[in-house]
Symmetry: C2
Subunit: 235 residues, 2 copies
């Protein structure tokens, strides 16, 4: 809760949110002067923001001049999930070994009662995703590994982008909650291997659901390329 946020931070967060929320679509060219005037900052802090976005992998340098918003194809989603499998399995395993049992028992009861959350007609599912975010935070705290936490943080940014692309249906959310419940139970019971395996199961289903929805839309091209400014990228 910074009292006065720096202009570069504001520019970074704004651009990051706009990219993650698909307001800036893949292939959009981010000119420095253009974005600087739009966001009301000078070019210097804006360049710093763009550098951070590049480090996150949300924008990438176009041939020669200009940065463009990174593409997010089904293939890159698969790539993200391959990293996610590795990191979240390790995180779950370590959390089971090191976590505070009480914290995860509390989360366990909340995930057991998650159907009440899902019944409330909250189109964005804020309550549910908030609970998942608290689970992620609890795992990060339990693992106590800044390198792992940093890698997971950048990964989660991309995952929010994926989530905004393919909204989960209620049936999937209910199933996902059950999978999360098993993960939390395993961590609370300090069963590292079960936690690792349950995480793999969850990620398997999550990716399969995304691929299924992509097939429903024939392909992601039509889904994400429907409207908006001309995407000059490969997507």
């Amino acid at each position: 809760m910074a009292i006065t946020q720096r202009a570069s931070d504001r520019a970074y967060q704004t651009l990051r949110d706009e990219i993650v929320e698909w307001e800036l679509r893949p292939g959009s060219v981010l000119g420095e002067v253009e974005q600087a005037t739009r966001l009301g900052v000078s070019r210097t802090p804006l360049r710093e923001a763009l550098a951070r976005l590049m480090a996150d992998g949300l924008v990438s340098p176009q041939s020669g001049r200009g940065l463009v918003v990174t593409d997010l194809s089904l293939a890159s989603i698969r790539e993200i999930f391959e990293v996610r499998q590795a990191l979240e399995e390790q995180a779950a395993r370590l959390a089971a070994q090191r976590g505070d049992t009480a914290v995860f028992q509390q989360l366990e009861s909340e995930f057991a009662a998650v159907n009440e959350l899902l019944e409330h007609d909250d189109p964005a599912r804020h309550a549910y995703y908030g609970l998942v975010a608290r689970l992620d935070g609890a795992i990060d705290d339990a693992v106590d590994n800044s390198y792992l936490a940093a890698a997971l943080a950048t990964l989660r940014t991309h995952l929010v982008r994926v989530r905004r692309l393919a909204v989960d249906d209620p049936a999937r959310l209910s199933a996902a909650a059950a999978e999360h419940l098993l993960i939390v139970q395993a961590i609370a019971a300090r069963d590292a291997e079960l936690a690792a395996h349950a995480t793999q199961v969850h990620l398997h289903h999550a990716l399969r659901n995304i691929q299924k929805m992509a097939n429903l839309h024939s392909n992601l091209h039509t889904l994400v390329g429907a409207t908006g400014p001309a995407p000059k990228g490969t997507l």
Copy 2:
């Protein structure tokens, strides 16, 4: 092979090398004007370089004003290896599934003959580490996952820093080469699970060797805190 490198790139690479090579020691305060004048660039590109170093986790903001070179304690080395176990196991597994067999058979023969490399009295072991780097590159190419490659790249930066801290003894290098040989053989044979397990074995021994050497030096504090400008960090 950029024809003309940008000043920010030169500043970044120089600072990164100096940190990795322990010329800039943990706790060193990096003032903007000081480093800018020293490297012969203006503050603007230097700030960009510092931002990238921060994203890499090589420097971190000190309380309020100033950036300091990140600490590298035995605990943080263990953290790095926890991430490395997750990412390199996954990389080895995927490389075994997707790799070009011929490429890894070639590397296999080179690792089988690695003792000749180690006999040459090259104190820095450039030939050996070059071979390992080529193995890493071959795995990256085979995996064909930009997110995983990016995560491994930042991790390897920290690992070079660790390597410069604790020079491997010949016995360890010979053993490590044998472990690498098994990994390459497994990938060439498309045995994903063996490649994953062999990677775990290698990382286990590598970390144990570092911990053993750290104990020999009583603790890392005395090892890295022996000379140089006053480290104001916790190390």
